[in-house]
Amino acid sequence: MTARILVVDDDPAVAEMIGIVLRADGFETEFCDHGDRALDIFRETHPDVVLLDLMLPGRSGIDICRDIRAESGVPIIMLTAKSDTVDVVLGLESGADDYVPKPFKPRELIARVRARLRRNDAAAPAIVRIGDLEIDVTGHRVTRAGEVIQLTPLEFDVLVTLARSPGQVFTREVLLEDVWGYRHAADTRLVNVHIQRLRAKIERDPENPEIVVTVRGVGYKAGGVSS
């Protein structure tokens, strides 16, 4: 099955070039060059990954990111021309899974897209329990007392990675490698922002997390003994 990628970028040359690169690697591509049309095209095409430029005519990339998140957990990768810290954090907080700063190399882009498409369900067991959560790894479902908690695939991957080795501390670098697929040092804010988003959904009290616990100066671990 060929994955479908939606490229939202107003610069026709960049969009075309991204299309050439993606198609050369066997992806199917859809394009959108205006912020106001992005959500409609997203609904029509049901892409597997969205590549989203932040500076767009009409609706901004940040807003589109929120719109898509409101109805889907589809992986979103931001294309940022600015390397300004504020923009990156804002984008991640509004729901983007990863970002690629412009200018990027084709291989880098492909690696990021593939990392988002890779399914983290190779190893057993199929059901993992952590705290009062039940994680159905194959079915991509998280439930608390029979009630389903909606997570994006990325948040799901983070949770499963931590939950499979309860008590083991994962540094941000290890999580970047395991979940995001970075092979060398990358932006650890990716981890911080997504851990916060994950906590907001699964913790009873996100201020005092019990399932995803911070280990000061090191990283994170899955807390709460399996019940």
């Binding site: 070039m17 021309a81 300004d84 200018p103 880098e108 882009l109 092979r183 040092a185």
Partner: protein, 552 residues
């Protein structure tokens, strides 16, 4: 003991120190204290003078009156005695008593009478018994009696009476017919004069005190009038200096102080205008840099991707086209690095660089960078040796920036090492952490050391650029060090190599006087520093990203 003595001395010195401190710091305090001292001195001198004059006047008048009265009364008494016919001791005694009583009545309450037998008189008659209060005898001194005996006219002496009152004794001889030579003493009490004088002194003291208080208060008030606007001005100026640019002085009235306040406010106004204008310029500059960055990166993204597609497919091209694709791809790397450096330096120039500090070990940063550089260094035959002194070399740093400084120093050293090894030393003291990067290659002349941080400056313009630096690396490194409150310095000798030292403060108190490491380190000093730290080469993961990352 010594400690105790000193601490007591300190405690005693504290109030006087505080006084000296206030004296130096407060104009108001100084003026009031000066006025108080001068006022009290003047009033005291004046009071003493007035007091003396009045006392002398009072006493002189009283003495004159007493002498006059005494002379009259003595004459009257003598006349009475001479006229008397008393012959026997009993009559004489009565006579003496009568005279004494009469004299007592004449003199009133403030005078007492004492009648004593002259030392030369050997008559056995005890005529003076019961004529006066015997306790008064002690008031008459030997000097007085001698003076009377010698026949001085009306000798007198100031004495203290048994009741504690001040008194005056006036003496004169008197003869009681058969009983012979006697001495008559009048003892005047000066209590009234004393009371008058006391009253005057009280009034003077009260008046003087009130005068001084009034003068001090007026001085305080007047000085305060003058000092308060100055204080207000100082406070407002301090607020302005803190950056609260809309702070202004209050303008009251139309006097000199108001003029000062108005002028001050005009100055503040002008400063605020200037600063706002500079801020606006800086904001525009930042905006421009940001826009340029975006506008340049969008086409560059396309070019970059197109170039890489061509590069990946170069095996299918004819040789010239394939080589062109290679050149295009390589030079794009350089172009990107240059653009990134240019944007970074203009961000720093515009004051738009923001640092994110974290407590981190310098050793970790340097080791990571050395690991990343190991592979490119070994390809041109340069060995990297890392030496770390004992201890935790932790400071508050922006990791990416410090990493970039070290990266720039390393690539610079490797480029100029001429296949000699490069030594890297890390140490710290209480105030600063330091890393020295030393090569033993071509070195630098003192003139070159002065220019080595200049933008786009190269020691030898014609020399091959093996590491492909942008010419901005060291300038940015120095700016990064400065943003941390640290220092980046260079040293070099032609043919002996060059050394770069980065100092970063550990606390907000700055770098301190002594650097943890010397700027120009010898090979033996690195070995003495501490154990050599083994560095893993990351060459096995070596991807293009790491190679291009090192070449900035």
């Amino acid at each position: 003991m010594r400690l105790r003595g000193r601490s007591i001395g300190d405690a005693a010195a504290t109030p006087s120190k505080r006084f000296a401190w206030r004296w130096r710091r407060s104009l108001l305090f100084r003026v009031v204290v000066t006025t108080l001292v001068i006022g009290l001195g003047t009033v005291a001198l004046l009071g003493a003078y007035v007091n003396t004059e009045i006392r002398d006047g009072l006493v002189d008048a009283r003495v004159d009156r007493a002498l006059q009265q005494s002379a009259n009364d003595v004459a009257t008494a003598q006349k009475d005695i001479d006229a008397s016919t008393a012959e026997n001791p009993g009559d004489l005694q009565t006579l003496v008593r009568d005279v004494a009583t009469k004299l007592g009545v004449l003199g009133g309450d403030s005078r007492r009478v004492v009648i004593l037998q002259s030392p030369g008189n050997t008559s056995p008659l005890p005529v003076t018994a019961g004529a006066f209060n015997p306790s008064l005898v002690s008031v008459v001194t030997d000097d007085m009696r001698t003076a009377v005996e010698e026949g001085l006219t009306q000798p007198y002496q100031f004495v203290e009476l048994p009741a504690g009152e001040p008194g005056l004794v006036v003496g004169s001889p008197i003869e009681f017919r058969l009983a012979g030579e006697y001495e008559l003493y009048f003892i005047y009490s000066l209590q009234d004069e004393q009371d008058t004088l006391s009253l005057i002194q009280r009034v003077l003291a009260l008046g003087g005190g009130m005068l001084v208080a009034l003068v001090v208060f007026m001085t305080w008030w007047v000085t305060n009038q003058a000092v308060r606007p100055v204080r207000d001005g100082a406070r407002v100026a301090a607020r302005l200096a803190e950056g609260r640019l809309s702070e202004r002085m209050k303008v009251r009235g139309n006097d000199e102080m108001a003029t000062l306040a108005r002028t001050f406010n005009e100055m503040a106004e002008s400063l605020q205008r200037q600063i706002t204008r500079m801020e606006e310029l800086s904001r525009l500059q930042r905006r421009f840099v940001s826009d340029v960055s975006h506008e340049l990166r969008t086409p560059l993204t396309t070019v970059r991707m197109a170039s890489d597609v061509l590069f990946d497919a170069r095996a299918d091209f004819p040789p010239q086209v394939a080589r062109s694709a290679e050149l295009l791809s390589n030079q794009l790397d350089r172009f990107e690095a240059l653009l990134a450096d240019l944007l970074e330096i203009s961000r720093i120039d515009a004051g738009a660089a923001r640092l994110e500090f974290e407590e981190i070990s310098l050793t970790d940063i340097v080791r990571d960078e050395v690991e990343a550089m190991q592979h490119p260094a070994s390809t041109i035959g340069v060995e990297l040796r890392l030496w770390v002194a004992e201890g935790e070399h932790v400071a508050s740093m922006d990791r990416p920036r410090v990493g970039r400084i070290v990266r720039n120093l390393l690539s610079n050293a490797i480029e100029h090492a001429q296949e000699h090894p490069v030594d890297i030393g890390i140490s710290s003291n209480g105030r600063a952490v330091a890393v020295v990067v030393r090569d033993y290659g071509i070195g630098l002349t003192p003139q070159q050391v002065d220019r080595v941080f200049d933008r786009f400056w190269r020691a030898d313009a014609a020399r091959a650029r093996t590491m492909g630096g942008t010419g901005l690396g060291l300038s940015i490194a120095r700016e990064d060090a400065r943003l941390h409150g640290g220092k980046l310095e260079a040293w070099g000798r032609p043919g002996k190599g060059a050394s770069f030292r980065l100092l970063l403060p550990r606390t907000s108190r700055g770098l301190g006087q002594d650097a943890p490491l010397p700027l120009a380190m010898r090979e033996s000093e690195f070995e003495a520093l501490g154990p050599r730290v083994a560095v893993e080469s990351v060459a096995e993961f070596g991807s293009d990203a790491e190679l291009s990352g090192s070449a900035s």
